[in-house]
């Protein structure tokens, strides 16, 4: 082509990455964000995306090219556990640099979100107080003692975890969680961070078309982002969201109300023992979404037993989690999936993922024939957000917005 005929415009770009932060859904108690605070979240979303798609694959390459061969050369025999793999990974510069940057990005994301919410703490806390004071759909327990599973360590490097109040009536923690998930996930959870909940609601409507729950319980609900789509899908149902963190519940009710969702009650409680709160066989549906990994070996069987006690005959329980480690999963992948357990303050993540969930459900009293298995991926507005189901480039071991479902239908 002669120069004169050349198109003077630069080559068109094909952009495949996180959307601009400004597409987030701003409900009535969403923190205000300045231009530069938004730019910071944009950078962090892109950094996470870069680390998972451009840097992390180098860890697998280093493993194949030098880590595993070095072990063979040293005649140490094949790896027997994922922990052996991890102990070799931490010696390799590719893993070290990817990990150091990933941890730094997690911490920076917390700082960015905390800056946004703490600088407007009085306004945010006041707004939430006005929306929730005297509302019977918020039930807090001033004497509640945090379980060790939430108090021992701040989950995913979030200072104060889910329960700390910097001042009475504080909601800066949940507001930070809400405003920053976009950056952590690169927008994979959609406008209201509810892509998981939307997926669960759609999964139930598709797979159990006759199921018409009247009473729904969400365990470890946090600020309710995953239960609101369920409440919206079944507007005639009474929905109860239980969590250990008072700030989450307070913010959750205010958030739900400003989003026009009125059928959710937020109750503070320990989900491993709800006997004083709810009668036997009083729910049609018990749900947990990305919650089990934040419990413990001691409490998880108790939670499973509670779900069995609480379900009405014919009712369903569904737990949504990242896939379990199985013999089919390479030890390298298991070791990489353990990253969040050891390096992102998710201590139960590692043990939780080796549990034989079917057996545990059986021990809790569910018949093996009644067990439910499935898979869901975040449902988002594909015009604006990246779709986990379509995303073949990004695996991101444990962070991808695609999950397994394990559940049961109580006989009756």
């Amino acid at each position: 082509m002669a120069d004169a005929e050349r198109d003077p415009r630069p080559d068109p770009i094909e952009y495949d990455g996180p959307p601009d932060y400004r597409v987030v859904g701003r409900h009535g108690v969403y923190p205000e964000t300045s231009h530069d605070e938004i730019a910071r979240f944009n950078f962090l979303a892109q950094m996470n995306r870069h680390l998972s798609t451009k840097v992390m694959p180098g860890v697998a390459e280093a493993f194949d090219a030098r880590i595993e061969p070095a072990r063979k050369k040293a005649k140490k025999g094949a790896y027997k556990t994922r922990h052996e793999v991890r102990k070799d990974l931490v010696q390799d510069p590719m893993f070290q640099w990817w990990s150091a940057m990933r941890r730094a990005t997690m911490e920076t994301r917390q700082q960015a979100g905390r800056w946004v919410t703490i600088r407007q703490a009085d306004a945010l806390n006041g707004k939430v107080r006005t929306l929730t004071e005297g509302d019977p759909r918020l039930v807090l327990n001033a004497d509640f003692k945090q379980p060790r599973s939430t108090d021992a360590i701040d989950h995913h490097c979030m200072p104060g975890s889910y329960h700390t109040e910097l001042v009475p009536g504080d909601v800066t923690g949940p507001a930070n969680y809400d405003a920053g998930i976009f950056a952590t996930t690169g927008g994979m959870l959609g406008r209201y961070n509810d892509g998981g909940g939307v997926a669960v609601a759609q999964w139930v409507q598709k797979n159990l078309p006759d199921f018409q729950p009247k009473r729904i319980l969400d365990l470890g609900a946090g600020l309710g982002h995953n239960v609101l789509p369920i409440a919206a899908a079944f507007p005639d149902a009474e929905v109860i969201a239980v969590d250990a963190g008072a700030p989450m519940l307070r913010y959750g009710l205010a958030r739900a109300k400003t989003m026009g969702i009125e059928n959710v009650t937020f109750i503070q409680g320990d989900v491993s023992d709800l006997k004083d709160m709810f009668e036997d066989e009083s729910f049609d549906w018990v749900q947990s979404t990305m919650f089990l990994h934040e419990t413990s070996y001691k409490t998880m069987p108790m939670i499973f037993a509670e779900t069995q006690r609480l379900l009405k005959p014919g009712g369903i329980v569904l737990h949504v989690e990242q896939p379990q480690y199985s013999d089919d999963m390479p030890l390298f992948e298991q070791a990489m999936r353990d990253w969040d357990a050891f390096y992102n303050n998710e201590p139960f993540w590692t043990k939780m993922h080796e549990v034989d969930l079917d057996a545990w459900m059986e021990t809790a009293g569910f018949d093996r024939e009644t067990l439910i298995h499935g898979g869901v991926a975040a449902v988002v507005d594909p015009e604006v957000f990246p779709e986990a189901a379509e995303d073949t480039e990004q695996e991101d071991y444990g962070r991808k917005a695609a999950w397994h479902v394990i559940g049961a239908r109580k006989e009756g």
Binding site: D20, D36, L44, K54, V90, A100
Partner: protein, 122 residues
């Protein structure tokens, strides 16, 4: 002076409960890396602000602080900005890209090796 109940300057960067894992051979290197990444973030913030100012000037011929704060890029504009951010991060983290490529290439000759080879007359 702020009359707010909480001080964001003090609290935004709080440490999460739980012993921090360190990854690099030398913790001081990791400290410097953390500071570098924070600066990298702040350069990205300044660049996005400049981009906003330029787009407002193109559009309105004038720019105000309020217009900056309320600026909403179109999908096309957002994609251009997102693409710039990808380019920027790739530029800053070039050395890690090259580490990956070095793994893929396997054993390579150094210039010193080749210099010796080329200096041989037989």
């Amino acid at each position: 002076m702020s009359t707010a109940t909480l001080d964001p300057l003090k609290l935004a960067g709080s440490k999460a409960k739980g012993k921090r894992p360190w990854f690099l051979e030398n913790p001081d290197t990791e400290r410097v890396m953390n500071i570098t990444l924070a600066l990298m973030q702040e350069v990205a913030v300044i660049r996005e602000r400049m981009d906003t100012v330029e787009r407002l000037l193109d559009r309105d011929g004038v720019v105000t602080r309020e217009a900056i704060e309320t600026f909403e890029p179109s999908k096309e504009e957002a994609d251009e900005r997102g693409y710039w951010m990808q380019e920027y991060i790739a530029r800053c983290l070039r050395i890690l890209q090259q580490d990956r490529e070095a793994i893929a290439r396997g054993k390579e000759d150094s210039s010193e090796d080749v210099a010796d080879e080329f200096a041989k007359v037989d």
